[in-house]
Amino acid sequence: MSTTLSGASAPAPSPYRWAWYLPGLAAVGWGGYGLLTAAMGPEPLKWGLFFVLGIVGHDLVLAPFVVGVGLLLTRVLPAALRAPIQVGLIGTGVALLAGFSLAIGRGTSDDVPSALPYNYAGRVAMLLAVLWVVMAGWTAFRLAAGANVNQRE
């Protein structure tokens, strides 16, 4: 039996699904045809390797790592810290993934100094500093709010 994320039985497929399948499959087919026939297209094996590496990198490396970190944090963190650290880690992970290739600077070239002109590692670090300062403030607020609640009780 097919189930949804929350464990219930999945609803019956929509009768309109073929109105999506046909153009969708046509687009996938067109893309595949283009990849195989484009004059300057990729060598299929290299494209396939890159393609599979993306899936493997996410499903077998990144996602288990994130789940593991989440599991660890909810076991060791006090309640007041959980949400701020969750948000902080979401932002940190995204910033590192989006900024990594810029920060290592492999794309810079001496003859085009206007390309990649910033200290990207420094800017990512600055962004993360702002993020964690905000999260620290949020944590302090939650701790204070929790103390007030306790005092009232």
């Binding site: 464990g7 039985s9 893309g31 283009g34 297209g41 599991l71 969750q86 948000v87 995204v94 990649l116």
Partner: protein, 464 residues
Amino acid sequence: MVRKPASPVTPAASQPPEVASGTPSATGPGALLHRRLPEPPAGFRQGPLREEAWRSPLRSERTAALLGMSVGIAFAVCFVTGLISHLIQQPPGWFLWPSRPVNLYRVTQGLHVITGFAAIPLLLAKLWTVYPKLFEWPPVRTVAHAVGRLSLLVLVGAAIFQLVTGVLNVARWYTVMPFFFTTTHYWTAWIAIGAIVVHVGSKLAVIRLGLSRPVDDDATVDATVDATVDAADDAAGPAAESADTGTDTDTGTDTTTETGRPVREPAGALSRRGFLTAVAVTSGVVALTTAGQTIPALSAITVFGQRDPNLGPQGLPVNKSAVSAGVLETAVDPTYRLRLDGPRPQLLSLAALRGMPQYTVTLPITCVEGWSATAEWAGIRVADLLDLMELPEDGEVTVVSLQEGGLYSSSVLSTQHNRDPLTLLALRLNGENLHIDHGYPARLIAPNRPGVMQTKWVSRIEAI
């Protein structure tokens, strides 16, 4: 204590799809596709395959549907804007790209890159939300089910591929990609958008189900299920411990998933609404810190942009240098002549070009990598040059560079652009003679056109 479902499962939802949609008869053509395959031994159901392994209350149909919609919209924006860019550069006969509004391409291509970066947290959050489906049991129920699961690999692979290669392109890190980026990114975009459309079609009912329910943050749950809490106590038991979140039964907030499976929110952790808000804010911050390469007012907070619109020779960024184009000597050769190949061929020296009526225009230069910058250009109207070579009003030309070889050493100037009074053969930039990296002695500048088609170091204008 575990609370009862906020809303019951609908009758339709209680049916497995094979039944609810009408199972093909045992002798029908679809029978093989839908014949149930033998289940693996139950002993294999360990670790993440266990029924109770994935219990984070942040995951739900509602969360998945909202994030999926966001990803779908982001990819649709990227696909349409990318397709526009492709069609401008390789126009089929039916495609006409106007010269006005002058900033249109700047908007579409800026949007392409900004949206692509903003999609990173959206896609990751969506994949995290549905990650438990990777471990569903049994792994394969029918052949049709197996095909459906394999099709998801295409969707996930293509989506990740597009974002990764897009980011690498902005970072100009081409050596890590063992293929030509432009062509590959374009064709894989078709696969990604097609796979998304197929996926939406296959999930229409689940999406509708998810969107029809509230987000179920703490307040919503409390308001809707308080009356049924006690009656559901029996359902708690050891199952209330979440392997995913690591929460034990002594702490945390009692809650339910939308369809009733009891779970517990760790005390102090994000609610579903909080999770969605965090993802949305992250996406917005990424967009803002990327947009500075398109919107100069935001350049001070740029983190992920490739350029500062005000940095470069004569205050303007460069994409292709004279060194890499191999024109260091030919561009400054005193014998330089512009050749007009048309009904009335011409050879014009730089002095002759400077002696023609000069016009000044303010136009952006917009790179396919999303950055753009406005500058003041001065030079001869291309329309005047076409008149000089007696090209018919409806004639098109190719503008050719001194650069030998390379994809962008020439560009076609269609009728929409070549008679536009804003289209110049520019000799000056921001009040000075062109810097050699900006195309000295003469370059094309036209409104609403990709930078790679604003041919630099122009040596020839040929009638087509």
